[in-house]
Symmetry: C2
């Protein structure tokens, strides 16, 4: 057997190198999460292995009707500067790529300018013409997944006789040669490995996408229970993510050591999206309560007042009747004056009128106190007096006109919730935490529960539910607190509360930070970097709007 | 240069084969979703490529403290029958695998029985002794991911001089040889590709797990709004999945053409888990309503009745007073009898008493009608009469004692919800669908929204919300309907309704199918295959329990 030893040895060692190269390409293909990276890698490495001057890569778009080919990557060593834009071609057997995509067969063409008249495909030479090129040998391969479904097409152009050769329209026939069958098999196999990797990435993306979509849809459906908070979670997430990004760019001051990579930002984002999820555990009645008393509660008190009034009328009528029985000598004469009997009856009626007026006045006082305003001293004292008033109830028992608990409700100094209701509202943070804690977060999302748990804590320990102080509150929760307050102040969907202009909201944030409630540096950064711009807010326009 | 041509040629062609083999291994590694498959594949292919007689594979368990090595796979060509059980060894440098795991360095040992005294590791010969084997050459390689983190260790044993050699304790020194450096590099690279693939799978599993966990936790938190439905969705999912599995095994009858693969079962499972998700859009008041009127509504009516009674008393007192004014000659004498004036007054009082008694009777009637029972004819007519009764309301206006809408509420023939409330409850199906529709389901879960949408449709078109008929209702929704009804009947957490014994529930399912409401074949299958067993129900025990 005659062999050219040095060449054989050379090829032998080249193949050993090739094996390791192929292995490293395989590892790179499987480990990449980036589609563009995979596409460029498979094209450049296939070109390198086969000494191809140029190449391109198409992916099949199954979502279009009919399916089409998307031209994704092009490389050309002889025309390194040629620009490229993604475009779509129909998936028909007339083009080389279309034929391969449809049939799953490879095409190994020694000269693409001289094709048999019997084949359906032809090379589109317009591209060559536009860049003054001469395509000669072409290797077109399907990129097939493990089920042998073609998901893309890899096209290698002009197999050079040596890696250094430069192909021009003039020398193409001299410096290129056909692709070997062996090259075809190796690259086809590599292309399929790329296809599998692409599909793995798509699968993973689709599940991540599914998770993301499910989270957002559930946040939305839960927020819908309280029309006042619609979109709040998404806005807090957007603000907090931007704040994270801004914090990461800081190089001086107390925040300079803080850095968030994309995974950590993702973690904060989920914590923010889900920070109010536990509100699903707060009864709607409390969630949407607008005044100090619930509407039905007020209606019952209204009836109680009516019953009291009717009881007074009844007592007056009964008293007058009894008086007449006891003073039978009295002859009522409308013309008579100075009659002591008549005086008594009139006096009774006047007393009744005065009592009714008093009840009416109390009712007005109560209606007034029912509004979620801050109460002044005087009505407070008068409200207290209300509990001293009694009436004869449904069962004939003497009862106070308003109960102790109703009074407490009306005496609420700020807002419209009593201590117990406030606790129920505040419990949403614990509900959120309990909910988030039972979810099997991936490693990079493990802190979601703790971050969300801390969003109502205050630096001075006056927050809830754990009364944590500054060092114990995760910095991400501190960021979320700033965003949460900002959105609560500026959102236009809260009832009985006009949304504030950006500058006013910022002033309140500064006050809160001055009182050591929220992080001063974060508030400053929030203002300086105009973090609120992610919501489309600007200081100018917003201020103008409110003037 | 002197080379042995035939051997070189032979090796040359073997290497070409090897390249293709490596490529196909790479593709297989990237495309597999099964850990066991990947582990067996990498071990057997590495052995094949290197002509290794035996081998084993360890994965690092980072969850244990400290991290340990789990012995996952073992293969031995000379001892094909040797049994194997997974076990854990500490990750210390004393073992070969532990050393490689800790250092990330390969070990290529010509003879593992003769190791330098300076190295920390030694071969544990007890395994050899137990099976009468002689380990000689050993190649121990780290399986590293793209970040060069070691996640496992691949150990190849006894590189044979030819693939056919059989290694025994006696001939080990003759039929084995050391591993070449080249083999070490190729297999190490392949092992890393396996590591990447394993990590990809773990990542994917962890996200799937995250999605699953999130779905289940949100179902749970939403179900918690209505204590009566706790665990219902999980049970319906379990029943429906089992029904799918049973249907798939059927080879005769109308259901024989139905087959569900694991992905389709997953789809049904998510539809079942989420079928009541839209209940979050139903106000709690309706969700947990127990009687026909809401408690506050009843309390307001009670006050209205009291007001009516006091008004009657007032009118009576006023009439009596007026009478005395108009009949001033009357001298009341308790001893007098037959006095027409006194008769009149007494008559007034008697009329009042009768009227009060009537009101009291009406109140009792109303309390009775308020219970969620089926009403008989007579109280119905009397209830109707109630709206004719008027009283002088809070503002002095004449009003009916109960409003038209309250009457309608009390006239509800079945259960405790009026038509409007029933619509609101029924709207949960549409809420569920609207919610599910906006989620970007993966390809294999695309029918989740439609399946869930159909779970309250009836075969005869009498269901809701679309009044679909049998052919239009997805078969998965028909399965879910059977499970849903079964669980509603047998669940022990519904108020005012004792849970039914399994046989009674099955009887009701049969009745429903006889009335062409639910699928007859599915109900039969549900009974015959004892699908309810997934809930721990058995016909006997459950029946005994209820006796």
């Amino acid at each position: 057997m005659i062999v050219d030893h040095p060449t054989l040895l050379q090829e032998f060692s080249e193949r050993a190198e090739l094996i390791e190269q192929l292995l490293s390409i395989g590892a790179a293909l499987s480990s990449s999460f980036d589609l563009g990276e995979i596409l460029n890698l498979i094209l450049s490495k296939s070109r390198e292995i086969t000494c191809s001057d140029a190449g391109s890569l198409y992916l099949i778009d199954q979502s279009s009707q009919p399916a089409s080919l998307v031209f994704k990557v092009a490389q050309n060593a002889s025309r390194p500067g040629s620009s490229f834009q993604e475009f779509t071609i129909p998936m028909t057997p007339q083009s080389l790529a279309g034929y391969v995509a449809l049939t799953g067969q490879s095409l190994n063409l020694p000269d693409a300018y001289h094709l048999s008249a019997e084949v359906p495909y032809q090379l589109d030479r317009s591209f060559d013409r536009s860049i003054g090129y001469r395509t000669r040998s072409v290797l077109v391969l399907p990129m097939q997944n493990q089920d042998q479904e073609t998901i893309g097409v890899l096209q290698l152009i002009n197999r050079k006789v040596c890696p250094e050769a430069i192909v021009s329209a003039e020398n193409a026939l001299e410096v290129t040669q056909p692709y070997s069958e062996w090259e075809e098999r190796v690259v086809r196999s590599l292309a399929s490995q790329a296809a599998i990797s692409i599909e793995r990435n798509q699968l993973q993306e689709s599940i991540e996408n599914l998770f993301e979509g499910f989270v957002r849809a559930s946040v939305q459906i839960i927020e819908a229970r309280d029309p006042c908070t619609s979109g709040h979670s998404e806005r807090v997430a957007a603000l907090t993510v931007r704040l994270c990004e801004e914090v990461t760019t800081i190089t001086a001051g107390p925040l300079r050591s803080l850095h968030f990579n994309s995974r950590q930002i993702q973690e904060v984002r989920y914590a923010a999206l889900l920070h109010d999820f536990g509100k699903v555990g707060v009864p709607e009645a409390i969630l949407v309560k607008q005044k100090k008393l619930y509407p039905d509660q007020l209606e019952i008190i209204r009836h109680r007042f009516a019953l009291a009034r009717r009881s007074l009328e009844l007592e007056c009528a009964q008293t007058k009747f009894r008086y007449l029985i006891e003073h039978p000598s009295h002859v009522h004469d409308s013309s008579s004056t100075g009659c002591s009997h008549c005086d008594y009856l009139v006096q009774q009626e006047q007393q009744l009128e005065a009592a009714i007026a008093e009840i009416q006045e109390h009712w007005q006082l109560l209606l007034d106190a029912n509004e979620p305003r801050i109460l002044s001293e005087e009505p407070l004292a008068r409200l207290q007096a209300l509990t001293q008033l009694t009436y004869r109830d449904v069962d004939g028992e003497l009862q106070p006109l308003i109960s102790e608990s109703e009074l407490l409700q009306l005496l609420v100094q700020r807002g419209n919730l009593n201590a117990q209701e406030r606790l129920v509202i505040e419990s949403h943070v614990t509900h959120t935490y309990e909910f988030l804690k039972q979810i099997p977060w991936t490693r990079h999302l493990q802190n979601v529960p703790l971050i969300a748990y801390g969003h109502h804590e205050k630096l001075d320990g006056s927050g809830y539910p754990l009364q944590l102080k500054e060092p114990e509150i995760p910095i991400q929760a501190q960021m979320m607190a700033v965003s949460d307050i900002y959105d609560a102040l500026t959102a236009s969907d809260r009832p009985y509360k006009r949304s504030l202009a950006v500058t006013k909201a910022l002033n309140i944030l500064h006050q809160e930070s001055a009182h050591n409630k929220i992080n001063r540096e974060l508030v400053q950064l929030f203002e300086q970097r105009q973090v609120f711009a992610v919501l489309g807010h600007t200081i100018e326009s917003s201020d103008l709007e409110k003037i």
